[in-house]
Symmetry: C2
Subunit: 233 residues, 2 copies
């Protein structure tokens, strides 16, 4: 994965960081080898190794295909604890989520908002790892909603633009089937311990539908992957 | 989660390990508080805190309900790299997989079989974490198949006992839909880099059906959760 600043000239890329080490130590590439490459935000193709030494990797790149389609699902997630943020962002990016909203809720610990993991560079790192894993080039968008009520009443309907708003609520007995739905959706996932009743009521008021995964309590990173798999299926 | 050796007397449980620390430091339990408890292999219920000090936690337990139903899916997994083994076992146990088979395949690195993560105590630890997460008590079975051909030809049909054998193969273009299937299944997941053609041919010969998740390349732990969610859905 490269970007404009890695280009020495059109079609000529030079990297000297983690990507260089990966090519050298993990892939054990040799001059002449072809690697899968992609331009961030652009197309995918092949990069032929021109030079690879202790300092840098130089490639001649030819981009000839589009990245895979994204899911038509926006993931709105009550801000999880920092290690879960990393896991969720990486895996959901790999699965093709194009947009994340991390929102505040009564059961989100205030201290999570101070996590260094939310710094733009750290978030970008997680998104890039997800893209690399799934051979995609298009960075998802991330936004934050620090107040629950304006998030639900103003922002959520604007994000959904008529698409379904699905709320995953653990143990929800009367829950519908995520899949029965199909098509575009905003998937809202509450915090550990769940959304509170008054929060669910506000979501009901903007037309959200509750869905469940079954009787088992899952970590947020497991629940996110499972729900996305069902919505995408 | 407790077992016979933790019982001082019927209905009276004493623990002085990780579970004690969890009750003290994370849950901050006090005498009189009720915690969710379960007997390994048995029922779930409530444990009333009798005493909790720096040394141990003592509970009076009353078990009154069954653990959640398991999935009707056996997960047969080409032995992944050690960190993935942990993640897959924990998450798949939390999702309700009752049985795992870790098998050898041409692209499984031989060194993975020497991992200390495969020692029975270490495996049990991962399974217990998955059970605790999902409030379940029944430990999944794990077995190993160190030779691919006898695994596929002898063991797999015996495990399936007439249920469908589904093979997740990345990028499989003509793949069927996992869900269209429904009911009991053995889900076979190949190694990083995929099963080789001659391995797929042997699976075809015992009647396996190929399924796919889509065009994206996923980590094994992400793919396992996504496939199980679809099969269970």
């Amino acid at each position: 994965m490269f970007e404009e600043k890695d280009e020495l000239a059109p079609g000529r890329v030079r990297v000297a960081d983690r990507r260089h080490r990966h090519a050298r130590e993990v892939l054990r590439a040799q001059p002449g080898d072809a690697l899968v490459v992609g331009r961030i935000g652009g197309r995918l193709g092949r990069g032929t190794v021109l030079a690879l030494d202790a300092h840098a990797l130089e490639l001649e790149v030819a981009l000839d295909r589009d990245p895979p389609a994204k899911l038509d699902v926006v993931l709105a997630l009550a801000l999880p604890r920092p290690p879960s943020v990393r896991k969720v962002l990486q895996q959901a990016t790999a699965l093709g989520v194009p947009r994340f909203v991390l929102f505040a809720s009564a059961r989100v610990e205030k201290s999570y908002w101070q996590s260094t993991g939310l710094e733009p560079e750290r978030l970008r790192e997680q998104l890039l790892l997800g893209l690399e894993q799934s051979v995609d080039t298009v960075l998802p968008e991330i936004s934050f909603a620090r107040r629950f009520r304006p998030f639900v009443e103003d922002e959520l309907p604007r994000i959904a633009r008529g698409a379904r708003i699905l709320v995953a609520h653990p143990g929800e007995p009367a829950a519908g089937d995520a899949r029965a739905a199909g098509g575009a959706a905003v998937l809202v996932i509450g915090p550990e311990g769940g959304l509170q009743d008054h929060e669910l009521a506000r979501l009901d008021a903007v037309g959200a539908t509750r869905i469940a995964l079954g009787p088992r309590v899952l970590r947020v990173e497991t629940a996110v992957v499972a729900l996305l798999a069902r919505l995408a299926g």
